[in-house]
Amino acid sequence: MGFWQPRRAGILALAAVIAVLPAVLPNAFYYDVVILVGINAIVCVGLNLLIGYGGQISLGHAGFFGLGAYFSAVLTGTYDWPPLAALATGAVSVGVLSFIVARPILKLKGHYLAMGTLGMGIIISIALNQEVDITGGPDGMPVPAFAIAGWEPSSEQTWYWIVAALLMISVWLALNLIDSPVGRALRSVHGSEVAASVAGVDVTRYKILIFVVSAVMASFAGSLYAHYTGFITPDEASFFHSIEFVTMVVLGGMASTFGSLVGAAILTILPQLLTVLHDFEMLAFGAILMGTMIFMRKGLVPSLVDLAKRARP
């Protein structure tokens, strides 16, 4: 079927980019940026399942990212847990927490859901700031290396391959989910909740499911981020970080998994490129975002796909 081609082509293109990048990245600084792109992209692939496919907004996902990061930092740093166990514990805990908040919060719609998730994210951020004894407070805390059975990734290159592999897996799983009964149910909830329920879709169940999935992916990425950077602060859970994630998803294109990758890449790389503009950095950044959203309302990737279709029918 025709539908299969873009899906396979997308995965192959992603694999090709990942394979070629090390040949063109000149030094550790560039690796660093690309690794951060990958970590953000994992969050965005999950968040896009919630926002782009499920049609539910969240302005609090940095909270889950931050929780994942702090679970890893505290359990490995303070309690000497193995990093993998800490990462898994963080993911499960965030899964349980998001499951508990999901039912009341997802009863809200539109602006109200945005406010609800916003409040949730801010509460997590405040908790991380205030629990100085556990988290070190606003000063942040160091995170031990990501040691697995005595081995630890020492160079940027090693981290690059770890993050790339995990990103590939995330994209593969997300694409599986989208083209499945679960994915159709999600998209139908986005399209019309009443029609979905009349067709037999348990709307609440699928909303909760995808909220939890996206929260767990954010927590997972947060754990990776903590070990990779080696030092975290409550800023990872801040409101502005949540907005950044949502902007990545919207800029790249809602309901486009590869769009999330592009969005994450642009919003991570652009600030680095724009540093040459000095004082006008934020001005240019905002102008680029506004321009994109005005002229490519569906987001970068879906708009470009439409253009390509029109050029070659």
């Binding site: 989910l177 009964p181 679960v182 159709r184 019309s192 029609a195 879709v201």
Partner: protein
């Protein structure tokens, strides 16, 4: 034997009685129409039967089960499906996927099999895609099998909604104004489609303003006025009922 039994149904909105003292039953395998002037409570009654509203009082029995107050996705399992007066199409999906959502209860909706793309999920999806294509052909949408829902004309979307409702494999299908917004020739075609659906053994319940369609297809008609039952019976019985003529068609209605 009755398929649907409504007993002493009441629904009030902020003190206003939208449905009052309503008792009726529907036999399987026939085409029923619910008619009445604007605001008579027809759509409210549909929303009560399909679980979108909870009744203030009264019970609804379907296929020997008490379904009062059950949510719509549970009623779908019982074999109850419907279309909407103002279209409720998933415009973010392809036409085929719209119908596939109708097959949701037949497909494997569990998380892990979908996440890891189990062969059983893929096989079942492929099987139901074929059935969805056949169903689209049944309602006359064979030209739109590969189309996006957002690119389809209004008349085709009405049929798409019927196809999606049929995919639920209902015992009873409720159609809320299937002919609204259609021109006379399209209405005629919908008329044929409704008869075809009933011919498959699905009990059809219609809310419709197009009286020609109502007289043409209905085996049984229920007339509502101000949320109460005004009359009930076959087409000719209802047509000659003086209350109906006065309340529904108006005084001039005698000439029709």
């Amino acid at each position: 034997m009755t398929l649907l039994r409504v007993e002493d149904l009441h629904k009030t909105f902020g003190g206003v009685g939208a449905i009052q003292d309503l008792t009726f039953s529907i036999n399987p395998g026939t085409i029923h129409s619910i008619i009445g002037p604007n605001g008579a409570g027809k759509t409210t009654l549909f929303n009560l039967i399909t679980g979108l509203y909870e009744p203030t009082r009264g019970r609804i029995h379907f296929n020997d089960a008490d379904i009062t107050g059950q949510p719509p996705h549970v009623l779908a399992r019982h074999g109850l499906s419907r279309t909407f007066q103002n279209l409720q199409i998933f415009l973010n999906m392809s036409a085929m996927d719209n119908v596939m959502v109708g097959y949701h209860l037949r497909c494997d909706g569990r998380f892990l099999p979908s996440l890891f793309r189990f062969p059983s999920v893929v096989r079942k999806d492929a099987e139901y895609r074929e059935r969805a294509a056949a169903l689209m052909a049944f309602v006359g949408l064979e030209d739109y099998v590969a189309a996006d829902a957002s690119a389809m004309p209004y008349g085709a979307l009405k049929r798409l909604e019927i196809a999606r409702a049929l995919a639920v494999q209902p015992k009873m299908l409720l159609l809320d104004e299937p002919a609204a917004g259609l021109n006379p020739s399209e209405t005629l075609a919908i008329d044929g489609l409704i008869q075809k659906v009933a011919g498959r053994g699905v009990t059809v319940v219609l809310v419709e303003h197009d009286m020609r369609l109502v007289w043409a297809v209905s085996d049984h008609i229920l007339v509502l006025d101000h949320g109460r039952k005004l009359a009930e019976g076959t087409g000719p019985e209802v047509r000659s009922n003086p209350d109906v003529v006065a309340a529904y068609l108006g005084e001039g209605g005698r000439d029709r």
